[in-house]
């Protein structure tokens, strides 16, 4: 049976799709059979994040409306055979229900270890559709008050669902700002939201640059390292956190911080 995890946030633009795509790649790299499902119907982007936008023949709507079987709609990743994407299309529809998504998730459950559902922003019908089909939730937030506030509201809503396990991914963390006391640190956010952090992703230009080019994160990238730690935490149940502040500590680190402030 696969673990069904919804990647949600409440606030838009915090990096749900990027986290979903990169976490999926890290899980696949570690040998886990993973499928990524785009439930953001109408504002679909997971296909672009995965670099498979030109390979979409059938999508989740075709499956629901019986135009194809689930397996026909799955797009196998170019790099990992054990990673698939189930895209959706750009026409918004209210005909799709949570039960439809749940049915697809159930049919995939036996053939995969992880099913990640990329949830739309907001707490409207699309959010409930994705959550209804999941057993676990990863709430993506950034260390900004507006994102944390929305994450808190999402956590309250998720408490009403049968979600076994809720965890946080804190995205776009800047170690230099934390050390300068200009950004909330992970401890503050975890304490205020009352949900443990399963991953911390540093602010990294590579993520947006490579995503625009449709290329994968390169070995040695801090973001890739952080996503690998996140995937390991998910698989093993550990709570190791990527330390975004380490390269800004000490004398050299202080110089780096000052240079970054000037740039």
């Amino acid at each position: 049976m696969a673990r069904r995890i919804v990647i949600c946030s409440g606030k838009g633009g915090v990096g749900k799709t990027a986290v979903c795509a990169n976490l999926g790649m890290s899980l696949a790299k570690m040998g886990q059979r993973t499928v990524l499902i785009d439930t953001d119907i109408g504002l679909n982007n997971l296909d672009v994040a995965m670099g498979v936008e030109n390979k979409v023949v059938y999508d989740i709507i075709d499956v629901i409306e019986n135009r194809c079987r689930v397996k026909q709609a799955l797009i196998t990743d170019t790099m990992y055979d054990n990673l698939c994407t189930l895209a959706t299309h750009g026409q918004a529809t209210n005909k799709i229900t949570g039960a439809n998504i749940k049915h697809i998730v159930n049919s995939l459950s036996e053939n995969f270890d992880y099913i990640l559902l990329d949830c739309p922003a907001g707490i409207e019908v699309g959010f409930h559709r994705a959550v209804a089909a999941s057993d676990e939730a990863i709430i993506v937030t950034t260390p900004h008050i507006s994102a944390i506030r929305d994450a808190d509201k999402v956590i309250s809503i998720l408490n009403n669902y049968m979600i076994n396990n809720m965890s946080l991914v804190i995205n776009r963390v800047r170690g230099d700002l934390i050390l300068n006391y200009e950004m909330l640190d992970v401890g503050n956010i975890v304490e205020l939201l009352g949900v443990y952090a399963v991953g911390v992703i540093p602010e990294n230009d590579d993520i947006s640059a490579y995503a625009s080019m449709g290329v994968r994160l390169k070995n040695g990238s801090t973001a890739l390292e952080a996503f690998d730690i996140l995937a390991k935490n998910l698989i093993n149940g550990t709570r190791k956190i990527y330390d975004c502040t380490s390269k800004f500590k000490g004398v050299i680190g202080k110089i780096r911080r000052n240079i970054k402030r000037m740039v």
Partner: protein
């Protein structure tokens, strides 16, 4: 910018999160408490007027003030 600015941000966030929780839930909670308290008090008196005020401070600590009025208390011998 220093440690104070971070503390200020944490305080502000705490306040925002508290207010978000207080607004929708305190009124409903107040109504439920009120009906329970009327039941409780009516064992000992005829409740004429009952007010339950729920207030939260900046740290999320909840203060509940109950103001009950009665002109008919039950006789102590009846209670025993």
């Amino acid at each position: 910018m220093g440690k104070n600015s971070k503390d200020m941000a944490v305080k502000r966030l705490k306040r925002v999160l508290t207010v978000d929780k207080v607004n929708p839930s305190s009124v409903r909670l107040g109504e439920i408490l009120k009906s329970d308290l009327v039941l409780l008090f009516s064992n000992y008196m005829e409740v004429k007027n009952l007010n339950v005020d729920i207030d939260f401070d900046q740290n999320g600590v909840c203060y509940i003030a109950v103001n009950a009025a009665s002109d008919k208390l039950k006789n102590f011998s009846v209670l025993l």
